[in-house]
């Protein structure tokens, strides 16, 4: 009797579970899963957390307007914790277990390089929202950040111009990994082509998470004290920027004497720093929060409302920045491409991405290149203001086409401007 009872109970619960599972699968079929792969802890969390929030916000925005092809998007958030091998593990999990249609993620180039083999092997789709060093063109990746010719090269040209201070000597300062090393290789070649002597370039690297910048600042001071106008080009990434800028301010190195132009520092990174001593230092990006246009006002308002709704820390003081804009563009473009392809199939979406256009918060209509998986983007150079925002002092007339294979690296002229295997 007892036994029969048990079997009966088992059968009932199994059938309930089956119904539950069936309804769950039915639910899952209705949504499209989207992976979000950003470090929410560790040294890169300072930059990447905001990108996760932007992605969630954009997905919520799309869902509120009826989703993609009538299906809601379902975000799957994972935390690779600034740990490069963990990026590969997490992306494999997203692609094989969660079976996401697309992944938005990564900040550092080393994390992108770490997930690349996974995306290639499993034919996944990655949208990478951060400016980077170029020298890469993968079928499975769309790059919505800047290539060197859309950020680094114009910034250095500006520094060499009269208004940028006619710099003659350059300090290339970075965190020790692939992005700063490659960017500095390109910049070195570029500077040489402009007639800057080897002795007028100083290159220095610090480890990830480095927090003692006394020696480096002293070195920069000494280097700058040798006569010619000096500028610093910083590719420092992550939370090291806070002690770097603190030390810079405390040591009294002013932008009028030695301007520092940064490629990985935006509004978000400067939130934890007293910016008053930093007025005039520069950053080069394809978007600034201070740009005045309707699209941007909408974007900023949307993010501020989102921060309040989600009760983010310091929600009243949240800022938007370039990689956030690139994330926003990437998700919307993917949506447009899916709707054009009428499928979330990776190969079909890749084909449909070519030539997609969108009105971006930068105020320009940006376009995904027909071939090379990069955006055509405008370039802005801004000076830090006392309130931590940027004052645009130079900009391109319109969007610039990306050149992922920099002409300043020998041998690149022979490389194709589109990914292999397409």
């Amino acid at each position: 009797m007892k036994r029969r009872h048990f079997i009966k109970a088992l059968a009932v619960s199994a059938s309930i579970a089956a119904i539950g599972a069936a309804s769950f699968y039915a639910h899952a079929a209705d949504t499209i899963k989207v992976g979000i792969l950003h470090s929410l802890s560790g040294t890169m969390a300072i930059s990447e957390t905001a990108l996760k929030e932007t992605a969630l916000m954009t997905i919520a925005e799309i869902n509120a307007k009826g989703g993609v092809m009538g299906r809601q998007l379902e975000p799957v958030v994972v935390d690779p914790a600034s740990n490069w091998p963990l990026f590969a593990e997490k992306s494999r999990q997203l692609l094989t277990q969660d079976k996401v249609a697309v992944v938005f993620g990564c900040w550092t180039s080393v994390s992108r390089k770490s997930v690349l083999p996974v995306f290639k092997e499993l034919n996944g789709l990655l949208f990478y929202p951060v400016q980077y060093e170029g020298e890469e063109l993968e079928k499975n990746v769309f790059y919505t950040g800047a290539a060197p010719n859309q950020q680094a090269i114009p910034a250095v040209e500006y520094l060499m111009s009269k208004d940028g201070g006619s710099a003659k000597r350059f300090v290339l300062l970075g965190t020790d990994y692939v992005y700063p090393r490659t960017t500095n290789k390109i910049l070195r070649a570029f500077l040489k082509s402009k007639g800057v002597a080897e002795a007028d370039i100083m290159e220095d690297y610090t480890p990830f998470g480095h927090s003692d910048y006394q020696t480096i600042i002293a070195k920069i001071k000494k280097f700058a004290g040798e006569g010619k106008k000096t500028a610093v080009i910083s590719t420092i990434n992550g939370d090291s920027n806070v002690p770097f800028y603190k030390e810079l301010g405390n040591a009294g190195l002013k932008a009028t004497d030695v301007p520092v132009v940064a490629f990985s520092v935006g509004e978000e990174e400067l939130r934890g720093v007293d910016t008053r001593p930093l007025v005039g230092h520069l950053a080069a990006w394809n978007y600034f929060m201070s740009l005045k246009n309707g699209e941007n006002d909408k974007f900023i308002k949307m993010y501020k409302d989102w921060a309040k709704k989600q009760k983010l820390p310091n929600a009243d003081k949240v800022v938007t920045n370039d990689p956030m804009e690139a994330t926003y563009i990437g998700i919307h473009m993917w949506k447009q491409a899916v709707e054009k392809a009428k499928s979330t199939d990776v190969d079909k979406v890749i084909a449909a991405m070519a030539g997609q256009k969108i009105k971006a918060p930068s105020g320009f209509e940006v376009k995904m290149d027909e071939k090379n998986h990069h955006l055509h983007k405008p370039v802005f150079i801004g000076e830090v203001k006392a309130d931590g925002q940027f004052n645009v002092v130079w900009k391109t007339k319109g969007p610039v086409k990306a050149a992922p294979w920099s002409p300043y690296i020998p041998g690149n002229d022979k490389k194709k401007d589109e990914p292999d295997g397409k």
Binding site: L40, S41, G42, A45, I46, T49, D79, K162, D163, G164, G165, D176, D204, Y205, T206, P207, G209, H210, S211, D212, Q214, T215, I216, A218, K219, K221, K222, A224, G225, E226, G227, D239, V242, P243, K246, E247, G249, N250, A251, G252, A255, T256, D257, P259, R271, G272, D274, P277, V279, G280, L282, P313, E383, K385, N391, V393
Partner: protein, 544 residues
Amino acid sequence: MKPAAGFGRRFFLSHDTMKSALFALLLWLIAAPSLAVLDPATVKQLAAEESDDRIAAIRKLAQTADPEALRVLKALSEDALHVAGDRIVAVEGDRVLDAISGRELKPAPENRDGITINNRIRGELSAALAVLRLFDPDRQTRLQAAQELAGSADAEMAPLLARALEKERDPRIGRILSLAHAQANLKNPDAAVRLAAVKALGESGNPNVKNLLAALTDKNAEPDEKVRIEAAASVRAVESRLAFGDNAGRVFSGLSLGSILLLAALGLAITYGVMGVINMAHGELLMVGAYATFAMQTVFRNHFPGALDWYVAAAIPAAFFAAALVGIVMERTVIRFLYGRPLETLLATWGISLFLIQAARSLFGAQNVEVANPAWMSGGIEIANNIVLPLNRIAIVGFSLFVLALVWVLMNRTRLGMFVRAVTQNRPMAGCVGVPTGRMDTLAFGLGAGIAGLGGVALSQIANVGPDMGQGYIVDSFMVVVLGGVGQLAGAVWAALGLGVVTKFLEGWTGAVIAKIVVLVFIIIFIQKRPQGLFALKGRFAEN
């Protein structure tokens, strides 16, 4: 006449003494000849499209040495100068003034566009403002202005500098000004003037001056041989002064790094060095201290915004007790059962460290939290032209001395310290004479943890505060304690300062990445050769 009256009025408001009034009158008399209403065309040119035109306008205004020009340029440098239609207006709080006449505009014009300035213009402006401020009645303002000009004075400024120099009564400002004047005279066509200038500049310690002088040692640039010889001598004098500054700066940054290492390691010197507990969660105790500082800052921000600058003072006891409490709980619940079993202690404390990291993540979030330097710790003291000592680092060096003294007094001058030493030297004997050994272990561990918490306060002022910040210091802390000699507080002090200075000198040559490797290799070799560390305990307890 109007502007002068306006200037005088504002002046009276701020300094209400007879003496300064007299000075103001004097100033007015000197400045009077150039005191007309500002040239409207020049002021309008400040908003020109081309930077070159705007710079020309700034220079023209500066040359007038007119307080009204100072007002306009100051507004421009503070982003308070706007274009409204064909008018240039200056915004002061909620008042809008016409920039040319200084009169208030009512109603305030709508549709104003700020005049944006870039670095090049900002540089010109600060030089121009400095020149104008040389005539300010306030000594401090004049001193700052003179310091700003040191090294950047050019030939155009010579007449103004001469005028300022003539009037200057303060010997310190006078010295700085005469150097600046000499620098401005370097391009004087008269060889005798140049010679005097070159001679005077031997007193300078400014890298810019060195470059200017070095240019004059060249035959093509300087026709007069006497000047060339004198310039070479002055270059040598300036260079030696600069080299001294460089080295002094390096020693200071080494001491500063050393004091941070010391603060991080001092707690460990007690728990590991004296008690012999391998505490892998030591870094997390630093983190607890840093988060306690953050919590104090939040409390002050919300409840005592007026006293925000002093949150650090309140954070010191808070961090000490928070970390000590965590330490005592650790000791009571886990470590006391593992005395004498170093491997198990190592594993257990490592587990505790993971637990604490995760706890911080859940409580405060995974992102770094912002701990701001109080205003009195921001900025630096310029002791020479090429060396600025940041105030936060000076404060930390002082703080580490204070903590060191505290630990020394506690260990050597109190009953608690005597008991702790007795227990660690000979536990059974101490127990026999009535020392409560179990409680002493708890208190000593709590003390070590509390000191680590104090280290956390210091770290929060210069490094990032996040859940895994402790991980970066655990290796350094063990390095200091092992190098110094286990069981020796004095050893930890020498090891920390030594490592700090050596690291900084190495970084100067090799860069941060290589320096770190070299230091680690050095320590490995050192421990191989001398396992007992720098200072070894001597006598019969040394074996334990």
